[in-house]
């Protein structure tokens, strides 16, 4: 199949420099001074070696919105961001609520080959929140779906949510909730607080997220099911998740890179590039999210990569679409907010961006260690590099990055998927 690669001088999880030999899809040797006459040598002097990153929350838009993103372009962006697996959200058109659609997305991912694509199945038919989609059929399909979510919409009906939590136990699935009480967020445009009142933009109150998380945690505890909370954005949500975990309930949570860095003050520009759901919150929320991720209350970073065509952002705030790109900047933002601030070391970051997301998604062969015998999913990262974000550089079809013109630390130099390079020297291989 593919030739061997000898990675020279990389620092696994930021530790001592060593060589890694990748062959036949696996890491076959680890140690200083390795040699293999047939292997392609990759100079990794000074680079950190991480397990290939796993994203639990990606919008690839295909089928239906191929003008915004395709499986091929979105996974190319993922590989460039250091990811070897992504979970493709279900809010496509048609919705991924049948075995047919999830298998189509899974196949498109295999054909593109930039990273593994694990389709997320919709919880309810058409994301309408009324009756369960055929969760078992999606679980039993070739796509082997384990994560179910109506993301973009909240499963707001308590009975439907309870049934979904119970039902997925049969195949070790997890319900990933987009926590947003719909009545409290009608026409909501930005974080409800001091600034929304001044800007005259309809508020999205923290309680609309926290009330659903609290309810779902209680439900999950009651029926003994696995619950995952998407894109936690408030200090209060962190507290509730912490409390639920202390109860011993099987609840996990994610935070997006943008919620670890950006605040609602950006809405004062009325530039919809900063319009996202859940909205950017306050600096105090950002601090609480960083602390929560550091102490493990929040299990993982997930990008919520949400591509939108230019015209859906070059307009009035209220008319604009919610969402931001994230795959190609996630690791840099995580470094900037968590590693450079001393909150996590590289091993901790690998845990939050590879190991735990793979475990929540029940993916075998991803998020493993950098050790002999493990799958050859490796990301080589240069934390000392810096770059100015230029949206036109993105492999995504869309340009809606909130970091345009910002200087960010770090650069993904290479990504290996089962021993095969998907990215070399910062470019698609």
């Amino acid at each position: 199949m593919t030739g061997a690669h000898l990675i020279r001088g990389a620092k696994p999880l930021g530790g001592d420099a060593t060589d890694l030999l990748l062959r036949d899809g696996r890491i076959v040797e680890v140690g200083r001074g390795l040699s293999d006459a047939d292997a392609t040598v990759v100079d990794a002097d000074g680079l950190v070696a991480l397990p290939g990153l796993v994203d639990l929350h990606t919008h690839l838009r295909e089928p239906g919105r191929e003008d915004a993103e395709t499986v091929a372009t979105g996974t190319a962006a993922a590989a460039l961001g250091g990811f070897t697996a992504v979970h493709a959200m279900a809010n496509t058109d048609p919705v991924a609520d049948t075995a047919g659609v999830v298998e189509q997305v899974w196949n498109l991912g295999r054909e593109a080959g930039h990273c593994d694509v694990h389709p997320v199945g919709a919880v309810t038919v058409g994301l309408r929140g009324e009756r369960l989609a055929e969760l078992g059929a999606m679980a039993d399909s070739a796509a082997r779906v384990r994560v179910f979510s109506d993301d973009g919409k909240c499963v707001s009906d308590a009975v439907i949510m309870r049934r979904a939590l119970e039902y997925v136990k049969a195949f070790d699935g997890v319900v990933a909730q987009h926590a947003q009480e719909p009545r409290l967020t009608e026409n909501a445009q930005m974080n409800e607080g001091e600034l929304s009142g001044v800007l005259g933009l309809c508020g999205w109150p923290a309680v609309a997220e926290e009330a659903i998380i609290a309810r779902d945690a209680l439900l999950a505890g009651h029926v003994g099911s696995r619950l995952h909370v998407c894109h936690v954005s408030t200090a209060g949500s962190v507290e509730i998740v912490r409390w639920a975990k202390q109860k011993g309930w099987d609840i996990t949570a994610e935070v997006t890179p943008h919620h670890l860095l950006l605040t609602d003050e950006l809405a004062a520009t009325y530039d919809p590039i900063y319009k996202v759901n859940p909205p950017l919150r306050t600096a105090a929320d950002v601090e609480a999210l960083r602390d929560g991720l550091a102490d493990g209350t929040i299990d993982i970073v997930a990008t919520d990569h949400a591509p939108h065509p230019v015209e859906d952002k070059e307009c009035e705030w209220a008319a604009a679409a919610f969402g931001m790109l994230g795959l190609e900047t996630a690791l840099s933002i995580a470094q900037h907010t968590m590693v450079d601030t001393g909150r996590l070391d590289w091993a901790g970051l690998a845990d939050r961006m590879a190991t735990r997301p793979a475990r929540i998604g029940r993916i075998e062969g991803q998020g493993r260690g950098i050790a002999v015998g493990e799958p050859g999913n490796v990301t080589l990262y240069d934390p000392s590099a810096t770059r100015i974000v230029d949206p036109t550089d993105s492999a995504s079809l869309s340009r809606n990055t909130p970091y345009a013109g910002r200087e960010l630390p770090g650069r993904v130099v290479a990504t290996f998927l089962r021993g095969r390079p998907t990215v070399l020297d910062g470019k698609l291989a």
Binding site: E194, L199, G200, G203, Y270, C315, E316, W317, A319
Partner: protein
């Protein structure tokens, strides 16, 4: 002054005083036989209205015409999505025809800000009311009207009553009046006061009777009856009872105090007919002063700007109602700067 007028917060105390003083000069134009100055001859002012507002549009249009500007009314109903042309393309069209100023009314908060800062147009942008955000020229005309009757507004107590949450008039007034040194009290049901209002430079009250007794002016805000369907208050009748201004409540005002309303009024809801038509009501005068204020704003924003492309011919432009006025002979007096 800034190149644009997007928010009352853009105005320093000196800026605001300059606008009000200039408006005094402009007001005198209305008393002349020929109500026209040549100041903005050859300049093009576009009234870009995404929302119906005959009152505000007419006020801006008359203001621009009295300054001899060419005015173009561009009415774009509905959202940019439903009408088929994007906000950006509309802006690029205005830029292409050489608009020196764009007066914009929009149903979305922040749309004028976007128009001014997205890099689509070079001209000045005047916010003529955006969503539930601001309406700075309304606040200026309110301040102007009150100043004419109360003198310097420093230390004056102004009560603003009603649906502050959805009111762009209330936001601009709270900002401008506090800049001018007035003491503002907002009164309304707690459901209609925005989250975070406690950080505004105002007092908050829920009891109208109590607030009226020590006020120099009371400004009633329009309340849409539909709000009661969203349970902001139980019924129109209960709203009127608790927060409406009727003759009994007007009698609680000090002798010298005045009543204002930005219009259009819901007679019988936030204000009774007898109060609206009372001698101490300044509501009709507010409308007249609106023209003077808008003349002052356009004059101050545009008179310093370099001459730009002029629409010399009445060439037909799709969707535009071209309204080209010949220069008026005989009105040669320049307004004081």
């Amino acid at each position: 002054m800034d190149r644009h007028l997007l928010s009352a917060a853009d105005l320093s105390r000196d800026d605001a005083a300059l606008v009000l003083d200039t408006a005094e000069e402009m007001r005198s134009v209305a008393d002349r036989p020929i109500k026209k100055l040549p100041t903005l001859r050859g300049r093009t002012v576009v009234n870009l209205f995404f929302e119906d507002s005959t009152r505000t549009r007419i006020s801006f249009e008359v203001a621009a015409k009295r300054l001899s500007a060419d005015t173009i009314n561009f009415t774009a109903k509905g959202s940019s999505v439903s009408k088929g042309e994007s906000f950006k393309d509309t802006a690029l069209t205005l830029q292409a025809i050489g608009a020196d100023a764009v007066v914009v009314r929009h149903h979305d908060s922040g749309a004028p800000h976007r128009l001014a800062h997205a890099g689509w147009i070079d001209g000045s942008v005047v916010n003529a009311g955006d969503g539930t955000h601001e309406h700075p020229t309304q606040a200026l005309l309110d301040a102007f009207t009150m100043r004419r009757h109360l003198g310097d507004l420093k230390g004056r107590r102004i009560v603003i009553v009603g649906d502050v949450l959805h009111s762009r008039v209330a936001r601009s007034n709270a900002l401008l009046l506090s800049t001018l040194g007035a003491e503002v009290t907002l009164v309304g049901p707690p459901t209609l006061l925005p989250v975070g209002v406690e950080t505004w430079p105002v007092e908050i009250g829920y009891d109208l009777d109590q607030a009226l007794a020590k006020s120099d002016a009371v400004m009633m805000l329009r309340v849409q009856k539909e709000r009661m369907n969203a349970s902001y208050f139980p019924s129109a009748r209960e709203y009127a009872r608790r927060y409406g201004l009727d003759a009994r409540r007007m009698a609680l005002l000090p002798e010298h105090a005045f009543v204002l309303h930005p219009g259009p009024m819901n007679r019988g809801m936030e204000i009774t007919a007898d109060v609206a038509d009372a001698a101490r009501s300044l509501i009709v005068e507010q409308v007249a002063n609106g023209v003077a204020i808008r003349m002052a704003v356009l004059y101050l924003l545009l008179s310093g700007a370099p001459a730009s492309a002029q629409l010399q011919d009445d060439g037909d432009v799709d969707g535009l109602e071209n309204d080209h006025d010949p220069a008026v002979v005989g009105a040669t007096e320049e307004a004081a700067s």
